[in-house]
Amino acid sequence: MFKRYICIILALAVLISGCSTSAKPAEQQDLLTSDWETIVSTAEGTTVNFYMWGGDERINKWVDTYVSSNMKEKYNISVNRVPMDAAEFINKLLGERQVNRENGSIDLLWINGENFKTAREADMLWGPFAEKLPNFNKYVEKEAPDVAFDFGYPVNGYEVPYGKAQFVFTYDSAKVANPPKSAEELLQWVKDNPGKFTYPQAPDFTGSVFIRQVMYEVAAGYESFPEEIDEQRLEGQLEPLWEYLNELKPYLWRKGETYPPDLAVLDQLYADGEILMTMCYHPTRTAGLVEQGLFPKTSQTMVWEKGTIGNTHFLAIPFNASNKAGAMVVADFLESPEAQISKYDPLKWGDLLGIDINKMEKEYQDQVADIPLGEASLPASVLAAHRVPEIPAGYIPWIEEAWYKEVARGVGN
């Protein structure tokens, strides 16, 4: 009797779960060869699950309102934003790749850098689809190094540029008259103002960029990092970097005995006035935070004279996306000048343009010029003139680990 119940329950369970993942037609195979009209008509009336980092209210809102309503209106596609960190959806996809699961739940990804490299190496992405998108062909400078390579890894059409970011320092102009504009000046400034500066500890994303930013100036620029890692050479190469950071250490916040665990804490220290500078890999974020009243109104951003690190973030489609056509249509819309300009507005998001401004029509260029960036932000031209590329992603964990050994040492977590 009891056994029979168990059997019924199990059968029901299989039925219910079977429904939720029921197979879809295999017509998606030939999407790469079909024309754009076919893709658009296949996508009509579908839902696209867009997996992206969900920790910024404004970005969430932009996707949920602007992108959603436009997709609904233009193509009758529903966009379902799912908040998930890149590292986590990569893990999820790794698991699905292991058992070769078809009909995955993710249609579109917001991705770049190491995660893209991991995804490509494990063959977790679908493509190359970039050249299928009309807006990609029209507005993207395909040969540009920051579009053709993602942290030094060849893109090969497996992802399309979504936006760009650049590392900037934020300082309180009411308290800092002459902000340091190079690694050398920074060292002097920190020595003059002990306890008023610090950086997040690696492997925090921002902390890790700061270390590389300093590295470009005191040790080796991006040119001296070939795709193949030569550890022997690298150790010697990075020697001056560790010397610099160790010289800086005793003058940091809390004498460098501890570092903020992440950018959020660093920003809080800055907002609370404990330190006078913070940093960010997102040049208009400061203006947004000032607008929200989280940062002092006298906050300003700056770049270093020899340039700061910039990168591009991308959109990709997983190998087992259930709705590849829909994902392509959404990606194409996100490549359009309208979407890119809307995204560039700091009140909405403030992300740098992923497409090439020179390829846009005149009216769009004027729209870009008319967007008020906020007191705290630097104009796009200044940023572009001071942008240097990232090094290959493979070096990053290596440098982060070395930082722990060489600089952090007894630092408690």
Binding site: K61, S68, V82, F89, Q98, A264, A271, E274
Partner: protein
């Protein structure tokens, strides 16, 4: 007596102060360091929660129904399991007891990653049912433990008394066991509900973004340091689990309780 009063007041304030801070933060616009109170108040956090696109209400609904179902199933499984382990001897009993506890001894990441692969194979990943099952693996150890203790404390005497009066199993359960295990039901459901309600990692892994519960919306804001929205969401979180506990207590608790001691 006086000392007792001071003690309970201290405890009360220790519990209530963080709560007040959360409420203050949720209505803050700017709160510079060193200031006792926020310098500017605003509704940014609450506005975000009330906006339909933020999906907070939907996720709350998912969370409540998921944790509610997990609680119910946990109790249904744990009551007979607790009774069996407490009152009967059988071969491999200690092995069963250890196995039941295993999911909370082994880290959930290890359990979760392995189960995830099997769930993908069986089509349970990315589904409500899958998340429900994975929550059961972490809640069952607690609820079974509770009912083992409850049944041990209750003993078998009352049940035997019923037997001698020829009461059938249902009558014995309804009129004897039910009253004996009531305190266990209240604590058990409160604990199970909260363990399930606050699950982040396992929901994330097995739900794969298809099952969005409240913690999944809350965590990104804590991570990115948006204290205002995080505080507002945390308040919703705390209030809903408090609400559930009160309901559970009211539903199960005896209104005309005769004695402070359950087993007398």
């Amino acid at each position: 007596m006086r000392l007792n009063k001071i003690f309970s007041l201290t405890i009360f304030y220790l519990l209530i102060t963080p709560f007040i801070v959360l409420i203050l933060w949720s209505f803050t616009q700017t709160w510079p360091a060193g200031e006792l109170l926020p310098s500017e108040f605003g509704f940014r956090g609450w506005r975000y929660i009330l906006e339909p696109h933020s999906k907070v209400w939907h996720s709350l609904l998912v969370s409540l129904s998921l944790s509610g179902a997990v609680t119910l199933i946990s109790l249904i499984i744990s009551i007979p399991a607790g009774k069996a382990i407490a009152h009967y001897d059988f071969v491999g009993k200690s092995l069963v007891e250890t196995l039941i506890l295993a999911p909370i001894i082994v880290p959930p990441i290890a359990v979760g990653m392995g189960i995830h692969l099997s769930f993908i194979k069986y089509g349970l990943a990315d589904s409500f049912l899958g998340v429900l099952l994975i929550h059961l693996t972490v809640t069952l150890p607690y609820s079974v433990r509770i009912f083992i203790s409850v049944f041990k404390a209750a003993g078998t005497k009352w049940d035997e008394q019923g037997r001698t009066l020829k009461a059938n199993w249902w009558a014995r359960f309804r009129y004897i066991t039910w009253y004996l295990i009531k305190p266990g039901l209240v604590t058990g459901s409160a604990l199970v509900f909260n363990v399930s309600f606050s699950q982040y990692f396992l929901t994330f892994l097995i739900g794969g973004g298809k099952v969005i519960t409240l913690p999944l919306i809350l965590f990104p804001f804590i991570n990115s340091g948006d204290r205002v929205i995080a505080s507002s969401l945390s308040l919703i979180f705390i209030l809903s689990s408090l609400f559930f506990m009160i309901i559970a207590e009211k539903c199960i608790e005896d209104n005309q309780r005769q004695s402070e001691f359950y087993y007398l």
